[in-house]
Amino acid sequence: MEYKPTILAFLCNWCSYTGADLAGTSRLKYVPNVRVIRVMCSGRVETTFVLKAFREGADAVLICGCHPGDCHYHEGNYKCLRRYLLLQKYIQQMGIHPDRLRLEWVSASEGNIFARLIDEMTETVAKLGPCEVRKTMETIM
């Protein structure tokens, strides 16, 4: 069977979740590999959430927030950006490919961009193959 990656996406309530909703209501087609979790702000996404996602078997994690300057809470997306960049450095130290974690800005009107993003990310992650973090953590040697 062809390998189908699982992508866990944290979408901010005000822009990206609405954007993803728009993709749905506009009947845009995109691959069904994404599992969405709505958060009030991308700044709510703690590093623990991302690490836990990998630990529980996600092949990739996507965080989407409002474009810089558009955050409903003024600064949340900047906080998210800073965490994301620090996390990137950390996951690379732990032997996880940087492409497995992505941060993108998607506004409420960008349903088409969201659909394309999921297609493209799924393709990238599929090329990387399954993420072995869960297996690593479960194997006691």
């Binding site: 590093t47 800073r82 965490r83 620090l86 996390l87 450095k89 732990m94 032997g95 072995e132």
Partner: protein, 328 residues
């Protein structure tokens, strides 16, 4: 009190530096109080009791076992399991038994990498034959066996059931005494699985340094790169201090000694992963909005894992480096 039988206490070390044993010996003259209440039935560092003596004890013969050190090899695991069987209360004593501690940082490497570095590549090692320890080897006199070195460093509770955790690297002797006296005098014990000898609040709660609301920094410094003013919050000066995600109870000793907290007391209650919590906090302190500027500031954090998981890597969500390391 007179006719009460003495408490039987054992202490053992796994993968540890010995500091925990020293912290127990640091009770100084209080040792007499301890010895009045308890007999040490097994403590390899001071007593010549053999493993087979422990094996011959009936189950649950020992009242309290203080196990320090992580589980690194088959001997540690065997003794952890044996002592669990022979003890009524098993205490994970110190950071290594609690969260993996400093030896836990070896989870960055595989067993092969460690052996290669230690026995073959090390600058001060002369080993022309490339001899590497083998668990079993044949000699004319017979078969010799040494413990098997594991690939992973494990915390005590990843191997056996643990009753209490006494954190610290090493635990403060005063805290050890408090806990010991509570057990010895038959005080009511906290529920199983509790962290004892520490408080529930974070280090910051006890810290005496001056704090403001402005936590934003433009640069992170390693402690030796900056003249500490001795009175304002380390984080506000740009020095990474694990205080916010670390339990208090040590008496903020490091900070009082003008060194930032390194997190040996482990996370406060309800925090699963102190390193991740700290990363979340540290990242939000960065005073920049553009990716490139942020990256430049993050460059100052040379080794995020080693900094944020200094004592807790084996207990973290990602407890070791991926064995299927991805090249890019």
């Amino acid at each position: 009190m007179e006719n009460k039988p003495k408490l039987k206490v054992a202490a053992y070390w796994g993968a540890a530096c010995g500091g925990c044993s020293v912290s127990m010996l640091d009770v100084h003259e209080k040792l007499f109080d301890i010895l009045a209440l308890a007999d040490f039935v097994f403590w390899p560092i001071i007593l010549d009791t053999k493993y087979h003596d422990v094996e011959e004890m009936p189950d649950e013969h020992i009242d309290v076992t203080l196990f320090n050190g992580a589980v690194r090899n088959s001997e540690n695991e065997e003794m952890a399991k044996l002592l669990r069987k022979k003890s009524k209360i098993l205490v994970a004593y110190g950071s290594c038994a609690h969260m993996g501690g400093i030896p836990g940082l070896a989870n960055f490497f595989s067993k092969e990498e460690i052996f290669k570095r230690v026995y073959l590549e090390n600058e001060s090692t002369f080993n022309p034959d490339g001899t590497v320890p083998q668990p079993v080897c044949e000699v004319p006199e017979g078969k010799l066996e040494i413990p098997v070195f594991y690939n992973d460093v494990l915390t005590l509770n990843q191997v056996v059931d643990v009753d209490y955790y006494l954190p610290g690297c090493p635990p403060q002797t005063e805290r050890f005494l408090e806990v010991f006296m509570a057990i010895a005098t038959g005080a009511e014990l906290p529920p199983k699985g509790s962290v004892v000898g520490a408080r529930d609040k974070s280090q910051c709660d006890e810290c005496e340094r001056k704090r403001t609301d402005n936590k934003l920094v433009k640069k992170f410094y390693r402690p030796w790169e900056i003249y500490d003013d001795g009175e304002s919050c380390f984080l506000e000066q740009g020095v990474i201090c694990m205080g916010p995600s670390t339990r208090s109870g040590c008496g903020v000793r490091c900070i009082k000694g003008n060194a930032p907290c390194r997190g040996c007391y482990g996370p406060p209650p309800d925090v699963i992963d102190p390193g991740a919590k700290m990363m979340s906090a540290i990242a939000t302190m960065i005073d920049a909005k553009e990716s490139d500027d942020i990256k430049k500031i993050i460059e100052d954090i040379v080794d995020p894992t080693g900094t944020f998981y200094r004592f807790s890597l084996p207990a973290a969500i990602l407890r070791k480096k991926s064995i299927y390391e991805e090249k890019y």
